[in-house]
Symmetry: C2
Subunit: 147 residues, 2 copies
DNA sequence: ATGCAATAGTTGTTTTAACAAGTATTATAT
DNA sequence: ATATAATACTTGTTAAAACAACTATTGCAT
């Protein structure tokens, strides 16, 4: 029951993630790209594929349905995404990149590259393995306990 | 310029932190505690001290002034915090826990303990050192580059 | 001593996220 | 075959965060 003896991993993650997102947002802005990190996540998920169901977009990006719905709505409004009803199941919507969306994705890719490269300076493959292992363990500890 | 060769550490942090916050929120809710993780951060920062300036609360929790202002407003409304003007400098406000605030903090502490303990299951001191070192390095990489 | 800059905090707007509740469509059970 | 359940998505509400713009107070320069 002594809180001081527990590992305060949440705070560390919170602070670092905040910095990462602020940094990326600033880099986008400085390069005339009007995208948030979250919007970029959706674009990058679509960049590899032809068209994706909103459902799968949500699952792949670990966002919930309402959040994905609103991000898509916003990106459609800006001309980056196309949303069309599925023929076979009219509950579903297929989402894909427009030419504009592809263009902005390609423009943003080198910025992501720079941000990641700089953020990872002084760290190696072993560190990445450790980080993903530890974060994966925390995640599975939480999700396994919930079911 | 090849994005695939960079380390995608941001996504991992994002997903894990989301799970941690969802888990904590659910635990609070299940125990009849109406607090968000962010509100808890403010309470816990105050728990050790007599009274703190909003300015320092913001710095210590890595939140910006408007965010802290609104969280405090909310917690004052619920009777957990006291906000009073500083005598010497009337721009400043001193924030402190009320008895109710102290009570809810003490009620939430064991929940934090449980959440942290479970989240860290199967991980050790060396892992914690690695995690904090890696996250600290990423943070300093970003902040040093900005100045 | 006055003007100007700096500091502390608030307010407005937008985005993301969580949650609850809603609609529309499809699947399933009896 | 029809009622019910499940699925896909939307809408409303609240909170947190980022940013810009604002008020009020204090510090500083000349």
């Amino acid at each position: 029951m002594n809180l001081n003896k527990t590992k305060r991993f949440g705070v560390h993650l919170d602070v670092t993630l905040k910095l990462i997102k602020q940094d990326l947002l600033r880099r986008f802005r400085d390069n005339g790209i009007d995208l948030t990190p979250e919007q970029w996540t959706i674009l990058s998920e679509l960049a590899g594929h032809d068209a994706i169901y909103q459902r799968d977009l949500a699952a792949n990006t670990f966002k919930d349905a309402p959040t994905v719905s609103r991000i898509i709505e916003l990106l459609v409004k800006r001309g980056y995404l196309l949303r069309e009803a599925d023929e076979e199941d009219r509950r579903r919507f297929l989402v894909s990149l427009t030419d504009e969306g592809q263009k902005i994705y390609e423009k943003s890719a080198p910025i992501l590259y720079d941000a990641r490269t700089l953020g990872w300076t002084g760290l190696g493959d072993k560190d990445y393995d450790d980080l993903t292992r530890i974060l994966g363990k925390i995640s599975s500890n939480i999700t396994k306990n919930q079911s």
